[in-house]
């Protein structure tokens, strides 16, 4: 009995999420594959439990496509090779779209409960947890508001709450604050960093893995434990950088260099 326990120990260090050799091709207009667009080429990504990984890359590099594939949403018409290594984990993800996706006919609290309902959680329990989270997400007092009555920042926070509530082990966030103005976005990112979604070192191993897609290097450095840089289309992993505790400037320079290998003069700004 004790030996079996010890042999099980390494399995707890299994990744929360892993893909290898992921290639996504969108069919082109031409015949026989002419004009096909390769969105992602041979991408490998491994995310540990309690790890917050940011994926950065230029616009159109396929980072949103990567996140969709991880979420089990196959882009329509696309050819995907290199499935997630453990396909059973597909149902363990919760994906948050770039736009909030709030349902206009549900008030804020029922909107927050959508994910929990899909996960088949008990309504009363989920609602109690949601009410508690409304406070932590700065939405207290707005439980009965309609989505259109909320500000952009509140809508995004509500969408994030909806994504977190089911307690899936992997959160996939697609530029959660990308549509907000610069000041609100900075404030949101500060708040998100304080929220500690990955639950580092939380007791009871309640932590989870987070994959955040962004085009903002500073956002990535602020929030993530590790930053993965994708190249221009077709997207390939060109840098996989753990975020250092100090010496952020150097990491920032390295990331900007990887993002824009030609124009280093731009990277210095």
């Amino acid at each position: 009995m004790t030996t079996s326990l010890s042999t099980e120990a390494p399995t707890t260090s299994a990744p929360a999420l892993e893909v290898a050799g992921l290639t996504v091709t969108f069919p082109g207009a031409g015949p026989r594959g002419v004009g096909d667009v390769v969105a992602l080429h041979d991408v490998a990504l491994r995310v540990e439990v309690e790890e917050f990984v940011a994926v950065v890359g230029p616009s159109g590099c396929g980072k949103s496509t990567l996140l969709r594939v991880l979420a089990g949403l196959t882009p329509s018409g696309a050819t995907v090779t290199g499935r997630p290594v453990d396909p059973a984990r597909g149902r363990d993800t919760a994906w948050m779209p770039q736009r909030d996706g709030l349902l206009p006919w549900r008030r804020a609290l029922p909107n927050a409960l959508v994910g929990a309902r899909i996960a088949g959680q008990d309504r009363v329990v989920a609602e109690a947890r949601a009410r508690a989270l409304f406070d932590a997400f700065g939405l207290a007092g707005f439980e009965r508001a309609w989505p259109h009555e909320l500000s952009g920042g509140m809508r995004q926070r509500l969408a994030l709450l909806r994504t977190c509530l089911p307690g899936r082990p992997v959160l996939l966030l697609d530029e959660p604050f990308g549509a907000l103005d610069a000041i609100t976005r900075r404030r949101m990112n500060g708040w998100l960093a304080g929220l500690d979604l990955a639950g580092h070192g939380r007791q009871g191993g309640a932590g989870r893995a987070v994959v955040l897609v962004t085009h903002d290097v500073d956002e990535a450095l602020l929030l993530a434990d590790r930053v993965v840089v994708l190249s221009d289309r077709p997207g390939r992993v060109v840098l996989d950088l753990p975020v250092p505790r100090d010496g952020l400037d150097e990491a920032r320079r390295e990331l900007l260099g990887a993002l824009d290998p030609q124009g280093r003069s731009d990277g210095s700004t």
């Binding site: 969709r68 979420a71 089990g72 949403l73 149902r91 993800t93 919760a94 994906w95 948050m96 779209p97 736009r99 996706g101 349902l103 206009p104 006919w105 549900r106 959508v114 994910g115 309902r117 899909i118 996960a119 707005f142 508001a145 309609w146 989505p147 259109h148 009555e149 909320l150 500000s151 509140m154 909806r162 994504t163 089911p166 899936r168 996939l172």
Partner: protein
């Protein structure tokens, strides 16, 4: 600016209507038309006051037929729309046929319905329902087909199945569309009931019109016509009000300003 807007929307058509009525009155009096051809509006008004106490049961009958028919038609239309949205084969086989049947104006079917369903309430309710279900069906199907891909994807991204997408996104998204169709249907309902009553029945505004026609009482017919217009307007306002109550998230901005003061999200 709002006052001027109101003036244009309310006062101007009222004045125009009054001018027409005065023209009618003066024209009839000057030309000496007999009252069994065209009575002046003043006589119609006098007749309206006279017959008003007698019209109660007729109005109740016609309104009952219209309301029941609308309800049945809306339910059938919504149910069929759901089936069409949920099962592609229903959409492929049933929808074209249903659309084809609309080439037959429903009032043409009234004699058949009376043959089959008798002289009572049923054939009228069926006729109103037949008239009402199509606008509801088309509006609901269109609304479900136009569902925001963003919402369906959000549900899928949280691990939702197609069933979840249907219950959480498609069905609620169809409600405003179906209610819009019901609003259109409400304007047909009383007319359809009255036409069905022309052919057979013991009471109802259509029966009243037929009786008046036999007595050459044109003033009474005109009273009934005016009453049908007023009832149709009231029914429309009622359906419109219910639709607003049922879709509170679709408040026009002016309403939400009054209903929720001091709620300025930060």
């Amino acid at each position: 600016m709002l006052v001027r807007h109101r003036w244009r929307r309310l006062v101007a058509p009222t004045v125009a209507g009054l001018v027409l009525l005065v023209g009618w009155e003066v024209g009839v009096r000057l030309s000496d038309l007999p009252a069994f051809v065209l009575p002046p509006p003043s006589q119609v008004a006098v007749t309206a006051v006279e017959v008003a106490p007698l019209l109660g049961t007729d109005v109740v009958t016609t309104l009952t037929e219209a309301a029941l028919g609308l309800l049945v038609g809306a339910l059938v239309g919504l149910l069929l729309a759901v089936l069409i949205a949920a099962f592609p084969w229903v959409s492929d086989t049933v929808y074209p046929l249903v659309t084809l049947t609309q080439t037959v104006p429903t009032v043409v079917l009234a004699p058949l319905l009376i043959l089959w369903a008798g002289f009572g309430l049923l054939p009228k309710v069926v006729l109103v329902a037949l008239t009402a279900f199509f606008p509801v069906l088309v509006a609901a199907v269109t609304a479900m087909a136009a569902v925001d891909a963003e919402h369906a994807e959000m549900v899928a991204g949280l691990g939702g199945t197609r069933r979840h997408q249907f219950w959480l996104v498609q069905l609620p998204a169809s409600v405003p569309g179906a209610l819009g169709g019901l609003r259109v249907a409400a304007t047909y309902a009383i007319g359809a009931a009255v036409v069905a009553e022309y052919l057979a029945g013991q009471s109802g505004l259509g029966v009243f019109v037929q009786r008046s026609r036999k007595g050459y009482e044109v003033d009474q017919i005109l009273v009934a016509v005016a009453l049908v217009a007023v009832l149709t307007g009231l029914l429309f306002l009622l359906v419109d009000g219910l639709a607003r109550l049922a879709t509170p998230w679709q408040r026009p901005s002016s309403l939400s300003l009054t209903s929720r003061p001091g709620r300025t999200p930060a």
